[in-house]
């Protein structure tokens, strides 16, 4: 965005002493704008201060000029304020003691990344009416492009506002101070060189004193990337902006590259970050995205990766995002890569490949078809396996052990162990049917198990076997009593016959 004056206003009062003068910008300020303010008073005041209703103090004046010429007796100063907040702003200039001929001129400069640490001011007595005879004096920009914002006014009798200097864009006129004519001219100029330059004006009345004040502002580089964009950043490349990259974008960041922005990457995006690449954004990656993050790459964002996403995160890469990965996502982590989705969700079709000592820790949900591949000593903490019929995998194996009268039986599944307990109960029933066995009392088998899941079934089996044995013992006793009774009857009959 090109630097420019977005709005400007002025006000002045004549011979009544005033303790302050205030003026509001007509329109709300744009966030990030710089403000340039000029102020003046009778030089009975030794200093002037400036503050905004929204932005607060504008700090120390860039320049403080005192014209002690008998016809003037005027003091003037100018201030800058960078990175303004958005919204309404009223600017107040206050002399350290109330004085007459108070004035203020306010300018909002947009498309700037701030003041360029360069300013100047001059007090010229009888400058003449030659072109560009009024000058602030040289200022040297540190970068380009940039812009000059300047004020110049006839501080004697106000015979008329100067005209803008050669190559400068004329701004407002003002500061009549109660006279019939204005005395102030504001101007602006964009430059594309770091050579020293001055703000110049041409006086209307060359015999009267003039005060000129100027400051340099850097032009901002953020904006919107539309259409097809190919950006290559160097070793410490950074893209920081609340903008949008639409259509096809290819961004290559250097060793410490970073993409920070509360914006959106729409359509097809290919992002390659360097060794410490990072994508930290409260935004959305829509469409088809290919993200390649370097050795310490990280994807940390409260956002959404929709559509088809291919994410390749390097050796110590991490995915930490309370967001959502929808659609088809392929995530590949490096040697010690981590994927931590504390409150997120991976829906749709997801493929995760984690290598070496990588870790997958997730307290979220993996929904849909997920293929998770671990290599080497990769670990999966935080995933519970249910005590179901799912066969143990290569690395996780449960052994179910049942011991009956000292004989150990081991099984790979719970059901197999339960089947054995059923067999034990069935055997107890068979044993109970064999009369010969019950000639002597028998104890039920001693059954012990290794797993918590088997305790209840084992206790139930023991109870049932005990019951079976008890019934069998009772039956055996009854049969014995019946036999004894029968024999007694036989003996009694023989005695009778004798």
């Amino acid at each position: 965005m090109t630097a420019s004056v977005l709005q400007e206003r002025e006000t002045s009062i004549g011979g009544s002493s005033a303790s302050s003068i205030a003026l509001a910008f007509s329109s709300s300020l744009t966030s990030g704008s710089s403000l340039h303010v000029g102020g003046a008073s009778n030089n009975g005041a030794s200093s002037l201060s400036c503050a905004g209703s929204r932005n607060g103090s504008y700090g120390t004046a860039l320049d403080n000029i005192n014209d002690t010429n008998g016809n003037a007796q005027q003091r003037a100063a100018h201030w800058k304020f960078d990175n303004s907040a958005a919204g309404s702003e009223t600017v107040t200039v206050t002399p350290n003691s109330s004085n007459a001929f108070l004035a203020i001129c306010i300018r909002e400069i947009g498309g700037t990344s701030g003041y360029d640490s360069a300013h100047n001011a001059s007090n010229q007595t009888a400058p003449g009416t030659g072109t560009d005879a009024l000058t602030s004096g040289n200022m040297t920009p540190s970068v380009q492009p940039g812009c000059v914002s300047a004020f110049s006014f006839d501080d004697w009798s106000g015979s008329g506002s100067p005209t803008a200097g050669t190559g400068f864009t004329a701004g407002l006129v003002g500061w009549a101070f109660g006279g019939g004519s204005t005395s102030l001219r504001a101007e602006f100029k964009r430059y594309t060189s770091t050579s020293a330059l001055a703000a110049t004006f041409t006086a209307i009345n060359g015999t009267e004193g003039h005060i000129t004040m100027a400051a340099l502002f850097k032009e901002a580089s953020s904006g919107a990337m539309t259409g097809s964009s190919a950006l290559v950043f160097g070793e410490t490349g950074t893209l920081a902006g609340a903008g949008a990259a639409s259509a096809t974008s290819a961004l290559t960041m250097g060793q410490t590259g970073a993409l920070k922005g509360a914006g959106a990457l729409a359509a097809s995006s290919a992002l390659q970050f360097g060794q410490i690449g990072a994508l930290a954004a409260t935004g959305a990656l829509a469409g088809t995205s290919a993200l390649l993050l370097g050795q310490a790459g990280a994807l940390a964002g409260t956002g959404v990766l929709a559509g088809t996403s291919a994410l390749l995160i390097g050796q110590t890469g991490s995915l930490a995002a309370p967001g959502a990965l929808t659609g088809t996502s392929a995530l590949s982590f490096g040697a010690s890569g981590t994927a931590d989705l504390p409150s997120g969700a991976m829906a749709g079709t997801a493929s995760l490949t984690i290598n070496a000592s990588a870790t997958l820790s997730a307290f979220g949900a993996l929904i849909g078809n997920c293929q998770i591949i671990f290599n080497a000593s990769a670990a999966v903490p935080g995933i519970q396996t249910l005590p179901s019929e799912v066969p143990a995998g290569r690395r996780i194996r449960n052994i179910y052990r049942v011991t009956i009268d000292g004989q150990v039986f081991e099984f790979g599944t719970l059901q197999q162990a339960l089947d054995l307990l059923e067999q034990a109960k069935a055997l107890a029933e068979k044993v109970a049917e064999d009369d010969a066995i019950w000639k002597t009392p028998r104890k039920p088998p001693v059954i012990t198990v290794s797993s918590r899941e088997l305790r209840k079934p084992a206790a139930q089996a023991k109870r049932e076997i005990q019951a079976t044995y008890d019934r069998a013992a009772v039956h055996a006793e009854l049969r014995m009593l019946f036999e004894l009774s029968r024999r007694q009857e036989e003996d009694d009959t023989l005695l009778l016959l004798m």
């Binding site: 709005q7 006000t11 009062i13 009544s16 303790s19 003068i21 329109s27 309404s88 109330s98 006129v173």
Partner: protein
């Protein structure tokens, strides 16, 4: 403010004694869409306080919807010192001029309030400038 301008009186506040407190607002009618600014010419009767303390704060609000909503526009706080020219000649009239940078409004009005901080005699003429 343009070098040459035309002033048109919109509101007249007669010269009178004022006691502490807020006076007004004194509201103009709809101003010309070609407005480039407004001017308030203050008048005193030579009895203006000279104790150096603040005497009154004049606040101007602006509306661009024919008076339905108002927003702060400008203010000045007059102090207790004699009004003079730059050459020190005592005067009883002082102008306060405010520039406008958003011409074209067809529902623009201004209203003036005076917060009197100490008793004084003051009058004012509010004029549009185009």
């Amino acid at each position: 403010m343009p070098k040459q301008f035309t002033k048109t009186t919109q509101v007249t506040i007669p010269l009178r004694s004022l006691t502490p407190g807020i006076k007004g607002p004194f509201t103009s009618g709809v101003l010309p869409s070609t407005l480039s600014g407004y001017e308030i010419d203050f008048q005193n009767d030579g009895t203006w306080p000279t104790d150096g303390n603040d005497v009154c704060t004049i606040t101007v609000e602006q509306s661009n919807d024919s008076g339905q909503t108002w927003a702060f526009d400008a203010s000045v706080t007059l102090a207790g010192k004699s009004w003079t020219t730059k050459q020190g000649v005592v005067i009883n009239t002082v102008p306060w001029a405010v520039g406008i940078d958003n011409q074209g409004s067809t529902g623009r009005q201004i209203r003036v309030s005076v917060n009197v901080l100490q008793s004084c005699t003051l009058g004012a003429t509010v004029s549009s400038v185009s």
